[in-house]
Symmetry: C2
Subunit: 357 residues, 2 copies
DNA sequence: ACCGCCAATCGAATCGATTCGACAGGCGAA
DNA sequence: TTCGCCTGTCGAATCGATTCGATTGGCGGT
């Protein structure tokens, strides 16, 4: 038992052929015994499994199997940020959870990739995968799309700008944000500002310029911005460098400095909104009496604030599941249709009528 | 350009052989032209690349390549929890970040696996991987270890109990925790309780029993517990169901109920400690005057608390990097030695001498 | 008694690359 | 001039499985 009898000496893993030989059957039969496809006599199967045990054979080599079958059992998730950054966003985490859950039960595993193509090797270009999910939450995925579609990998975009050959999972960013803005408008707010998600690949901070507002790289951020501007056409906006509390804080400070008469701030994500609340409190402003704050996402964030944020809730786990299901459907050769979810405004205690001045 | 000339009709991806044929060279030469290994005349390479472009060939198939070379370019990370749970722990995220960074620059990608072996297919058993990192933060990894070592995959354990054939990256959990406990002792504390990490696979909550304290599945939690008990041999302990703020809150409530004379609570992670702070505040206790709280990890947690937690800091990103480097070294056939990091006590404002009673 | 069918097994082709050894030709050194 | 070496290219073997079609033997139906 200590040293399994290995014809090739030890160190080398046994092959199916060796197992078959030892069991006195052909490789084809041994393969059937392992995979369960095709009829095999119980007694034969037992003999094969016994031989495998004796040789310490752990089952067919995934590499060979995947060459032959054309399937690797891997679904890739392509993100733009490095892990440390991306995973601080609860939306990304819940999305991934939904994805992992769904593909896991289907027998697939999850490969985590970033879309940097600079590296000569590794990554997008030559990782094995059966399908790819692109999390295009903010910036440019075009190069990744090009490489992967050349490799004929089915592509699912999550909140990404529509592209030929890519199926989509989306939410009604614009409508949802508009509903939120209307809520503020109904309360009487007129001087409202926005903190947006990053607008370019470099994640540059700063006031939103017309150039950015016309660019097309930041799909989600732009859609949500449109939603606000549908109600408040002139709302000033500051671009954050990421969906993070600190970024919301920095951006909100800038907004409060530049526009002393603001009565409400809209964060394009809950984390940004929480940063805005911090900025307000920092200056002695009470939320919601002195400043209303609205978020987007509906993230459940650990006792992070004494407030219940008023926010536009999106079904993030479901989004992940749906994306995974689209990928699985594409792999099964089924007709794939894009999916769109709807958001819902959840009232908390961070919005109220503006204080009379 | 729209429809690349594909001899096999479209839909089917071109193969290296087809590209070679079109370029008028042999498959071997075409391979060399792509991989850069071996001498190829510039003019020939150009011809090959041109042919590839014409056929819309995106480079060698990873599956075939990995069968031939025996390398898949994938390093797996095996966690015990589902993503949503695991990724709420900042330590896991930073660890992963370190890992991803290091293996990424080496041209490898990261496969995320959970250690559930229940599923018949997919996952540990047949995902392709060149090495595996086991995050054994708390519970039982034995079955996973068995499967993977049978597959001859180099194994690196991060804070896992030593096992034959597995290299380790560890920190001085016991010493570090002892240093923290000594700090409390020096301040004058005598009645100290602990909130521990999960102690079994099922993540059962409840007071720590002798049975648990002798079990061997929860390596990290037990080591840290020993560190405390080196100083406070009788310190009562409650087991949390996860490294989460809510869990710390629940556990601390139980501790405060059961031991009204406590002057300090030690959380085995920062999140647990933060939960303890919340529990204290909930009862009108002031931290650190009425209750000192000590954490472990040194997580940077977004403005989550008004306190700067006194905690035992571990180099979590470095731990990830080190684990990744061990894996890469093992793949390079180098001699691999286990690595141990040391922790450092960082004083914040959550510990103080106990209030006189 | 014969035919057809099904279960069980096997042989051989195949998936798409990499790589080793061989070979041809050109060049410099002795 | 000749020998050896280096460069560029090719053919063939190989990685380890899966799978298709063929083969064999046993069995029930008529």
């Amino acid at each position: 038992m200590a040293t399994p009898a290995n014809p090739a000496g030890d160190g080398a893993r046994a092959t199916l052929a060796q197992v078959a030989a030892r069991a006195g059957v052909s490789a084809s039969t041994a393969s059937l015994a392992f995979s369960g496809a095709g009829p095999v006599a119980d007694e034969t199967r037992e003999r094969v499994l016994a031989a495998a045990r004796e040789l310490d054979y752990g089952g067919p080599d995934p590499r060979a199997r995947s060459l032959r079958t054309g399937r690797s059992g891997i679904i890739a998730v392509v993100m733009e940020d490095r892990i440390r950054v991306a995973f601080r966003d609860p939306m990304v985490v819940t999305l991934l959870d939904g994805i992992a859950d769904e593909i896991g039960t289907a027998g697939y595993s999850l490969l985590l990739l970033t879309d940097s193509l600079e590296r000569a090797e590794g990554g997008l270009r030559d990782a094995p995968m059966d399908a790819a999910l692109l999390l295009g939450c903010s910036t440019d995925l075009d190069p990744a799309v090009r490489v992967l579609s050349q490799r004929q990998v089915p592509l699912i975009g999550v909140e990404a700008e529509p592209r030929p050959g890519m199926h989509l999972v989306d939410i009604d960013n614009r409508d949802g944000m508009r509903a939120g803005a209307e809520h503020l408008h109904d309360l009487g707010h007129r001087r409202v500002a926005v903190i947006t998600l990053p607008m370019d690949r470099e994640h540059t901070r700063g006031p939103l310029t017309a150039e950015w507002a016309e660019s097309s790289v930041a799909y989600t951020g732009l859609e949500r911005l449109k939603g606000v501007r549908d109600v408040f056409p002139d709302a000033p906006a500051v671009v954050a460098a990421g969906s993070l509390i600190e970024e919301g804080l920095v951006a909100a400070r800038a907004l409060l400095d530049a526009h002393s008469d603001l009565t409400a701030i809209i964060g394009q994500s809950d984390l940004l909104a929480l940063g805005a609340i911090q900025a307000a409190e920092e200056r002695g402003l009470t939320v919601p009496d002195d400043l209303s704050v609205l978020g987007f996402d509906g993230a459940r964030i650990d006792g992070l604030s004494r407030h219940r944020l008023t926010t536009v809730v999106q079904p993030s786990v479901e989004k992940g599941r749906a994306a995974a299901r689209l990928a699985l459907a594409a792999l099964a050769g089924e007709q794939v249709e894009s999916v769109a979810f709807t958001t819902e405004l959840r009232l908390g205690d961070t919005t109220a009528p503006p204080r009379e001045r």
